[in-house]
Amino acid sequence: MIQIIDTGVANIRSLQASFDRLGQPWKLTVDPEEIRSGIHVVLPGVGAFAAAARKLDEFNLREPLIQRIEADRATLCICLGMQLLCAGSDESPDTKGLAIISQHVSRFGVDVQIPQLGWNEVTPQQPNGPFELGLAYFANSFRLVEPPDDWGFAETEYGGVFISSIWRGRILACQFHPELSAAWGQTLLEDWINMS
């Protein structure tokens, strides 16, 4: 059973539909124990950094999330979910992220359309990563610029290079939406489930 964290601010129907197509049962949860110990947990996220962080506080989900990631239990963080792993974001300067990585999230520069909406190339920078080079669907105004130490990562170009995915052990975080990234994204989700 895949536990999808229900932060209430994300539109997760397309994610649920993806798991349905893969024949993988899922449930929505805000239960700290399920999130601490579940075999597969997904932290989705669409919307504002502060609103999502508030939801994690409201349901006491920060510690369970940090513990499961430290214990290398399979965790997939999508879009804002990836940004929540960071220390903080320009989007909400007074709000703390999970600080699992020390990096900070910043807004795209002035020479590109914001939000980035559409398909862009994701290029893994290490061999044997969780996915091959491919085209993914993005919908974001903020992004990570520096890769964290000791994590694998992929890069994407949008007004300069940014970090479009990071991974370590069974932890995978994607700035893009695998559930909206056609066959390539479905394969990524399937591989993440099977890997762990």
Partner: protein, 251 residues
């Protein structure tokens, strides 16, 4: 580099595609689920469903249609037509839309844009603008499917929607819609220069040349209906030609 997007658009009423769709290789060319999937398999980058419901019953049928389309689509789905409130948008997102487009209601109540963006994020909030040319370089805004002229300048309105939290503009030239004479390129340039939002060009396309022109004049995506529905081109064929012409597309 971000790819230029090709977005087929389906007009849907009571669970059926209502504009003429001529396909021989589909069992049912009027079924929005089959047709969306068909375009997805051809390489469409997104699908837009436009709800042209006449009745409340039709509108409920639309939610079921969105749910069925969502089950099949692994690409983004935008739904527009008759979205009047945050609650309307929530229902469409809950049924499986990824983005919601609003038009008349946003003109009537611009604060709706702020509320939609605050609730669902800018990336969910698409503002459809139907622009009508008054004189060279000046466009007004029309609503209610073009029947009502609004006291708004289309370029100023586009900038205001950005300030209020819109994430994308679906820009239709009322003058060109259905004429097959190509997109209104001056309008496209004016709007893309007045905002930093992604802009989807709509209205008037009848050829790949028209799409090339739109991308060369600042469009980030093109919406097209009849060019695909009539079966003259597949999405894949359009993309192959665009790539030959130097437009970066997902293939």
């Amino acid at each position: 580099m971000l790819k230029s997007r090709i977005i087929p658009c389906l007009d849907v009423n009571a669970g059926r595609v209502v504009k003429g769709v001529k396909f021989q290789n589909l069992r049912d060319a009027g079924d929005p689920v089959e047709l969306s999937d068909h375009y997805q398999q051809q390489g469409a980058d997104e699908i837009v469903l436009l709800d042209v419901s006449a009745t409340r019953e039709d509108r409920i049928a639309m939610l079921e249609t969105i749910e069925s389309v969502r089950k099949r689509l692994t690409i983004p789905l935008t739904v527009g037509g008759g979205v009047g409130s945050v609650e309307d948008a929530r229902r469409l997102l809950g049924a499986g839309a990824d983005k919601v487009s609003t038009n008349t209601a946003a003109v009537r109540d611009p604060e709706l844009i702020n509320r939609m963006s605050a609730n669902f994020g800018a990336q969910c909030t698409v503002i459809a603008i139907d622009a009508r040319r008054h004189e060279p370089g000046v466009w007004g805004v029309v609503t209610r499917s073009g029947t009502k002229a609004e006291p708004l300048n289309a370029i100023d309105w586009a900038a205001e929607t950005q300030a209020r939290g819109a994430g994308e503009i679906l820009l239709t030239s009322f003058d060109r819609d259905g004429t097959r004479s190509g997109y209104d390129l001056e309008l496209l340039v004016a709007v893309t220069q007045a905002t930093r939002l992604p802009v989807i060009a709509s209205g008037g396309a009848n050829s790949v040349d028209h799409m090339v022109e739109a991308f060369q004049h600042g469009a980030h995506a093109v919406l097209a209906a009849s060019i695909f529905h009539e079966g003259n081109y597949t999405v894949a064929q359009v993309k192959q030609e665009l790539a030959i012409r130097g437009i970066e597309v997902r293939q």
